[in-house]
């Protein structure tokens, strides 16, 4: 078995890399895949908190590369899904504690046992970024519909291509359908136009993300969440299924649909 290694990156901070990693990993695990999430944000780890696994950390990625423990000992099994594991980052060290070479070996080791290795990349383009992308064979670039985020995503795509990671895919996060309709927010076409890479998916802005993140439960578990549904569709796309991109329409409830029909009738 040789799994795929994906790195989730963005350049800009706060666009939802960690949330995306947690949710895509959980969604893939829900589909019965064997997944390991790797937090490469050494010194500012968050993935464990978002997954609600913070209090189970005994060994971390730095312990593994330094040989203080075996790789299996550092992997934390998720409390909800069989086949979902987390390799946490160290909090009391910094990015220089791991080299790109060590990271590559680590990812290749993990690849043997898992279907997907998802690496959560830190913000920035320094050593942390270089660590995260080494060993990955595919990149997902997360961007929000803001000029600054798209600008940083463009820079990241350039760096990824320079590093030999061709064909990165774009995930547009926190899109507000209503604002796009009014013309107040960049739309998907604009973003894809600027970045000219494949669109992997669109995740709408959703308040339930805040709630679930604070509770340490990925939002994909909730069937009612729109962002959760979007992440589940993206996960299916990652496994090669053909799933159409969700429409921007925020109004999907009965009354709005009824109004639409009336409008059409008129």
């Amino acid at each position: 078995m040789k799994g795929r290694a994906l790195v989730i990156t963005s350049g800009k901070g706060g666009v939802g890399k960690t949330t995306t990693t947690a949710n895509l990993g959980t969604a893939l695990a829900m589909m019965g895949k064997k997944i390991v999430l790797v937090d490469s944000d050494i010194g500012l780890r968050n993935l464990d908190v978002v997954m609600g696994l913070e209090n189970r950390i005994v060994f971390d990625i730095v312990d593994v590369v330094n040989g203080n423990c075996k790789l299996k000992q550092a992997l934390i099994k998720d409390k909800r899904f069989e086949g979902l594991f987390l390799l946490p980052a160290a909090q009391t060290k910094d990015k220089t504690a791991v080299t790109p070479h060590q990271m590559k070996n680590l990812v290749n080791e993990l690849r043997k046992d898992f279907d997907f290795v998802l690496v959560d990349c830190p913000a920035g383009i320094e050593q942390g970024f270089k660590n995260a992308i080494s060993g990955a064979d595919h990149a997902i670039v997360v961007a929000t519909p803001e000029v600054s985020s798209v600008r940083d995503a463009d820079r990241i795509i350039g760096l990824l291509e320079a590093a030999g990671l061709n064909g990165p895919q774009l995930l547009v996060n926190r899109l507000r359908g209503k604002m796009v309709k009014k013309g107040d927010m960049m739309n998907i076409e604009d973003i894809v136009d600027i970045l000219s890479i494949d669109l992997l998916g669109v995740v709408p802005e959703d308040e339930s993300i805040v709630v679930s993140t604070n509770r340490g439960e990925p939002v994909v578990i909730e069937t009612t969440s729109r962002a959760g549904a979007a992440y589940r569709r993206i996960a299916r796309r990652i496994t090669g299924e053909e799933v159409p991109i969700l429409s921007l329409d925020e109004s999907n409830n009965f009354v709005d649909r009824f109004k639409k029909i009336l409008k059409l009738a008129r």
Partner: protein, 210 residues
């Protein structure tokens, strides 16, 4: 012999009325609890001692026996005349046995996420220990604030080392080579100082009585 253990809706009453002296009470309590096999850990216990009068030290001894099985003494029931030794010497330390270390380090600041402190002996912190911060000590750890991060006492293998905090709410506690974490899902809010130590091979948290 009619020494009974009653379970009264989450609270346990141990009836030792038939016993006549303190040594017998201790022996019987020990024998009875020897059967309990750990499933009672955390239970509040009331001991009915009937006619006997106990002084503060003896009550302390009963509490020690209960705690060694992971039980908490809620109170004593007694039919005898009230004892006059209630407010006796302040010498009885309810903190129990605490190992002695020559060196103690005092830290007068908050420990924040990513900060780590190591001390060969005891470590005392006047401040909070936030999630993501770590304190590691060869001896005991005392946090005069909220312990919300990770604390490791007795790192060289001392199982008698204790971790106490004004508010004990850690992500993880380690004593010697024991590792524990709070249970999932439930949030326990305790508004008093507590102490964690190893009893009967498990890390147990007790109220800190001073």
């Amino acid at each position: 012999m009619s020494v009974t253990v009653k379970n009264n809706g989450g609270e346990m009453i141990i009836d030792l009325k038939p016993l006549k002296d303190f040594a017998e009470i201790k022996k019987e309590l020990d024998r009875r609890l020897g059967f309990s096999d750990g499933f009672l850990i955390g239970t509040q216990v009331t001991v009915d001692i009937g006619e006997i009068n106990l002084n503060k030290e003896q009550i302390g001894e009963i509490e020690e026996i209960l705690l060694s099985y992971g039980l908490h003494l809620k109170g004593l029931m007694s039919n005898g005349p009230p004892s006059d030794t209630k407010e006796s010497d302040g010498n009885t330390h309810f903190l129990g046995h605490i190992p002695y270390y020559q060196e103690t380090v005092l830290i007068c600041r908050h420990l924040r996420s990513g900060q780590k402190f190591f001390g060969e002996g005891n470590v005392v912190i006047l401040g909070d220990v936030n999630p993501g911060a770590e304190i590691v000590a060869g001896g005991n750890i005392l946090v005069m604030g909220a312990l919300k991060g990770m604390a490791h006492a007795g790192v060289f293998g001392d199982e008698t080392a204790v971790i106490s905090a004004y508010r004990l709410n850690p992500t993880q506690l380690r004593i010697a080579n024991h590792i524990t974490r709070p249970p999932d899902g439930e949030e326990i809010v305790v508004d008093c100082p507590e102490v964690a130590r190893i009893r009967a091979g498990k890390v147990i948290i007790e109220k800190l009585k001073i």
